[in-house]
Assembly symmetry: C2
DNA sequence: ATTATAAAGTGATGTATGTCACATTTTTAT
DNA sequence: ATAAAAATGTGACATACATCACTTTATAAT
């Protein structure tokens, strides 16, 4: 467990170095949680108590449409933040599902703790500011990818960008993330 | 001009109320700029000195693909922030174009001023944190829309969400924003 | 006002991707 | 180890949307 906290501290300090005293305050705002493969971190229509930092494991964030088809918004693995941020931020019922593709472990940060943290430790406000900004930029790039690229280009770029992810995720889920059917993805490479 | 500054102050204070003294510091970090319709705010391959808050007007952020087709990432109107954030943040050449659909006026914030602002006025760090976070959530919703909805659904939802925008933007540009051709958009309603 | 330019509509046709069905391979659970 | 479940591949066919070509309508420039 000690090493998990060290990993989180390192993650934060890549953006905002902290004193030991500050870190002590930060660390106590997080709680630990673990889930097995196939278990849900967040379910649609339920409230979302926390946002989550992935210590270990792999998750998918998705919706189910009216025809029962799954559409994947995000994969989250080690050192990723994940939640239904819309629901979390406004403390309203989730519109998304998040469940575990692998056994997973997290640090959980509740909304009141995050805001307390930002009030007490300005460096943490800065950390979240930078993180959100990078996240925003990454999503803009994904939108451009969806607007401009063919399924094949999107797949090849995903392989380039996250080669390690490909190994851990069934192609059917990658297809869903890329916005195509598994059949189409299957026919691309041949 | 005085009223422009008041509008910006109001915009910031919807998230982070400031003292008069703080506001004085904030205000001097911005510079004013105006452009006519069809003029470029940002051009591909050029450096991006600032991010921009739109006082008045309307702009589009887009790329041109290898076949010369335009793909619109964002429309920015009154009270929107816009820039090539990826290029701005890393001070590298732009990959995007931004030009004016209408005569427009902006407040410009240079990177060094933004960071100075965040260091001097923690409330501003918080302002940018919240803004980025909301922006992130909005982009997630756009991605879900692209993954799950038909062209017609995306168009109808855009009309619901930004009815005033529709009036100001040629349908051909809306089509590009929605990820379809103008011909397809034209055939939806009839 | 008149002309030039851009936006918008529409028909004919092409294509990438979706859908459905079924076989094969791989992974998971007992 | 064995059976069950999930993932993957592939053929036949359907469809949403793209492309190209041309006309009509609206907007902008002199």
């Amino acid at each position: 467990m000690e090493e998990y906290y060290l990993a989180l501290r390192k993650h934060i300090e890549e953006i905002s170095p902290l004193t030991d005293q500050e870190w002590e305050y930060v660390a106590q705002c997080f709680t630990y949680k673990t889930l097995k493969k196939h278990q849900f971190l967040i379910q649609k229509d339920e409230l979302v108590p926390s946002e989550y930092w992935v210590i270990k494991g792999l998750l998918k964030t998705y919706t189910i449409d009216s025809e029962g088809k799954e559409h994947i918004l995000q994969f989250a693995m080690e050192q990723y933040w994940t939640s239904d941020f819309q629901a979390f931020q406004n403390q309203i019922p989730a519109t998304l599902f998040i469940d575990c593709i692998e056994d997973s472990e997290f640090f959980c940060l509740r909304l009141e703790n995050r805001e307390r943290l930002c009030q007490e430790i300005p460096k943490m406000t800065n950390f979240f500011r930078i993180k959100s900004h990078y996240g925003y930029i990454a999503l803009q790039q994904r939108i451009m990818s969806l607007l401009t690229e063919t399924a094949e280009e999107r797949y090849n770029n995903l392989i380039k960008k996250l080669p390690h992810l490909i190994q851990r995720v069934p192609k059917k889920l990658l297809a869903s993330y890329l916005g195509v059917t598994r059949e189409t993805l299957s026919r691309l490479k041949g």
